[in-house]
Symmetry: C2
DNA sequence: ACCTGAACACCGTTCAAGT
DNA sequence: ACCTGAACACCGTTCAAGT
């Protein structure tokens, strides 16, 4: 009983998020989700087309955390007069506004992704583009266009920023479980594999700040984008050969 | 009957790869895999601890395609004398050797990942680090150390390169299905959402070469790493505020 | 209109039984 | 030693039936 007023699809997604937070993504089954809502599993299908659709909605709900809740704030969609690029930020520094804007999104997304161990797995397996992901893409693209990027380069920039967020977070999320597991990583750490893998054996014991490493990557990407905008192409590094001489 | 000689764990993994290639990752069930090998599902458990272990092995088999088959080639683990950084490549250009080496891996990994629509999903959901992933990490780290990167920076560099490969490929793999699906992307393309999402509406119709975009990202990352090695820190871009003024 | 019970066609995995 | 059959405890989803 308790609070059972009118099941809505939003309430279903909220409950799914809570269930995944509590017991992991594999515990998110229609039967358990129904139970959590005090209802049979089959009742959920009145509010959600399928489990796939539910997971898509859940993924988009995660992306919603990355962006400012503009719909709530009440700022009209006024993009007529972009702020001049290079204008000083409220803080008084002279960092270009677009860099601050995109760095903010990148750090927030990273933080949100790492706050839920199951978040990256879900998003990586769901190609769905919902309203939140559109808003997220819009914010990044708008920041780039306003900063004088060409439409072509802004398009590339969105993909580069998006790829950086997802890829770096995924790689970082992989770390703790790899260390926890008895996989090769543990034996590396113990120095067992120093002969076979000398380079990673040397570097793996480094103490390093994860947050600092992501900041490094964010700055590297934003700096690279700024250089591209300013016409400064990095030296083109051609791969030596698409493939080694494999048989077949 | 046909070829049924001695089921081995390698044969099981090979069959799993073929099955996923033919019918997708969701078709890879123990029952169907057994049938493909002319055997009952339960027989597989003699060669594979669990389905999870099988998926881990399959993921590592994918990573093996990214690296040169050194075990076969017969090059001894001779890392005593690193080639001098900045030496001319066989092609006659003066690109530093480490950039060519890492760019080669990045392009090969990207190509392999995109050749199997299910590859990124599998790798993103499997934190397991197997022998192939260790070799892959070793090759990248060794290239960086040989090129004069500090152990600290080589460690960061590995994570940055790995994150770039996975993130960019995932983002790219998402594109076709997003366009195929009736999600917001199609309506964007039709110009329906131009008012709500002006920036992405402007950029989305760009014709652009996907391979070229990845090359751009690879060069951006390698150039950024080179600058870090040479002590040239990009301007630190602090996010404006960790979080917007949210209630609660 | 909304929820349910029973059922269908699947899963991964265990375990005693076969050869 | 290696493979199997039946079974267990689950899945997502359909559908006629309840209120």
């Amino acid at each position: 009983m308790a609070v059972r007023d009118a099941l809505t699809s939003d309430r279903v997604v909220d409950a799914a998020l809570a269930l995944a937070d509590a017991h992991g993504l594999e515990a998110l089954t229609m039967r358990r989700l129904g139970a959590a809502l005090g209802v049979e599993a089959m009742s959920l299908y009145r509010h959600v087309a399928s489990k796939d659709a539910l997971l898509d909605a859940l993924g988009d709900a995660l992306v919603a955390f990355w962006i400012a809740p503009a719909a709530e704030v009440g700022t009209p969609p006024e993009t007529a007069t972009p702020p001049a690029a290079g204008s000083p930020t409220p803080g008084g520094t002279t960092t270009e506004a677009w860099r601050t804007a995109i760095a903010t999104i990148m750090h927030r997304a990273h933080r949100e992704l790492l706050s839920r161990p199951w978040a990256i797995e879900l998003l990586a397996s769901r190609p769905h583009v919902g309203p939140a992901r559109l808003r997220y893409a819009e914010e990044i693209t708008a920041a780039l266009l306003d900063a004088g990027f060409s439409t072509q380069l802004a398009h590339h920039g969105l993909h580069i920023v998006d790829g950086t967020i997802m890829g770096f977070s995924a790689q970082e999320a992989r770390r703790p479980s790899a260390e926890a597991m008895g996989s090769g990583v543990q034996r590396l750490w113990d120095g067992e594999l120093a002969a076979e893998f000398p380079a990673i054996s040397r570097t793996i014991r480094e103490r390093h700040d994860h947050g600092e490493e992501y900041t490094l990557m964010v700055d590297l990407v934003l700096d690279g984008l700024a250089r591209l905008r300013d016409g400064e192409r990095p030296p083109r590094t051609a791969p030596s050969a698409p493939y080694p001489q494999l048989i077949g």
